[in-house]
């Protein structure tokens, strides 16, 4: 084995030419391309990082806004609920008050109408009863109703207890007794009553007579702390109570 120096020299030249050509056409362009690619990739990565940071920031902002909106929404809903509840209770109170007012007005009106009806009925009934009694008594007994009432009154006067009579004498000595009647008593009737009072109670008592239109039909003896009467008013009052209770039952059932 020996070295061919001419070939060796030629190979040196060949090698140096190859070094130059590869440096010119391979290494330099390839490295430049790789560097450019690295720069582009780095640039893209940087852009991606910036966009990612921006996206993260926007995401945080939107999350914060959403949170704020959620809080505001909840607050508004709570406030609306409170206001609606307050308004509802206010309206309910007003409604209750109005219903109570209407009910009380209605009750008053019903009571008033009832009272008016009863008054009217009592008046009509009393008058009718008196009229009927008068006609009946007049037709049947051939005497006036007043006489019959006076008879009944005088019989009741006779039934007054001795204790009441003594008390009446003590109390009515000064002012005397008052006899009230719906109808006008005749002079004979007055004398008869006075005589009986003097006979039954005390002869010294003064007796006064007065006509009382509020008595429907009857006669009353009044003294201080004493009252004796026969009046159709008591019967009518009974009828009135019956009518009132009947009306009350009818109203509550409705």
């Amino acid at each position: 084995m020996q070295v061919d120096w001419i070939t060796t020299f030629a190979q040196i030249i060949n090698f140096l030419v190859l070094v130059y050509l590869l440096k010119r056409f391979l290494y330099r362009p390839i490295i430049a391309a790789m560097n450019r690619r690295e720069e582009r990739v780095a640039l893209r990565l940087e852009e991606a990082a910036q966009q990612s940071a921006l996206a993260r920031q926007q995401s945080d902002e939107y999350r914060e806004k959403t949170h704020t909106f959620e809080q505001q929404r909840n607050q508004l809903i709570e406030q609306a609920k409170r206001e609606a509840e307050a308004q509802r209770s206010q309206l309910m109170d007003e409604l209750r008050s109005e219903i109570a007012t209407i009910r009380s007005r209605w009750h008053e009106e019903v009571k008033r109408e009832q009272q008016a009806f009863l008054d009217q009925a009592r008046k009509i009934v009393g008058e009718q009863v008196c009229l009927v009694a008068r006609q009946a008594l007049g037709q049947l007994a051939d005497s006036e109703l007043e006489n019959q009432m006076l008879s009944v009154f005088l019989r009741k006067l006779a039934e007054v207890s001795a204790q009441d009579k003594a008390k009446l004498v003590q109390t009515a000595t000064d002012k005397g007794l008052m006899v009230e009647s719906r109808f006008t008593l005749s002079a004979a009737m007055r004398e008869k009553i006075t005589a009986i009072i003097h006979e039954q109670i005390d002869a010294a008592l003064a007796v006064h007579f007065e006509q009382a239109p509020e008595l429907l039909c009857g006669i009353t003896l009044k003294g201080p702390g004493f009252k004796l009467e026969w009046n159709i008013e008591s019967y009518l009052t009974h009828i009135d109570e019956q009518l009132s209770s009947q009306l009350a039952i009818t109203t509550s059932s409705k």
Binding site: F15, L18, L21, A33
Partner: protein, 243 residues
Amino acid sequence: MTFNPDNVIIWQWEMLKINATLVFTWLVMALILCLTWLATRRLSDDVHPSRWQTFMEMLVSLIRDQIRDVGREDPDPYLSFVGTIFLFIAFANLLTIIPGYRPPTGSLSTTAALAICVFLAVPLYGIQRQGLLNYLRQYTRPSLFMLPFNIIGEVSRTIALAVRLFGNMMSGTVVVAVLISITPFLFPIVLQLLGLLTGMIQAYIFAILAMVYISSALVARKKNNTSTQNRPEPGGTAPAGGQ
């Protein structure tokens, strides 16, 4: 049978002759340049380069990484020289799979030429980086008596570089030729495959050793700078290499 492609004369005019070594060298050079053209004709810096460009980028990146690992420096100033050594030897050895092809690296003239290039490149890189005097001064370290030994070491490692590549490649060719004459089947194929592996390893070894020799001069400069700043140290001797 002629094993030395230098002796296969194809054309001769007086002293000038074109032998198989030169022809196959030009073939290898043409192949490498052809691949280079394929890789760089549509050079793209997009993220999707062509296949050839990807292949060449991978190759160049591999060489740069190896240079960076060995030299601990920026690989670009040495890439052209070391990378071309590797590519030339690798392709020259890979083409042995083609029948009738004789690797130029099987010629001592080619390996000597490459070794001489390394022998010249080491001081050139050293002088370029640290100046002539500083470079020459490292031959006298650690003392002036070491000057002849350093020079002998420099020359001997160059010869070793040339002979190592030549020996490995020539031996592969010789062994295959001998085996073909003895057992024409199977064994030559296996040894041919082994020869391919050996050829790639030799390309790698040659390029790495070249970089080691170059970087040894730079390391010596760095050590000199460090010793002047801190304390005097004996200068590093470049590895002689060997296999």
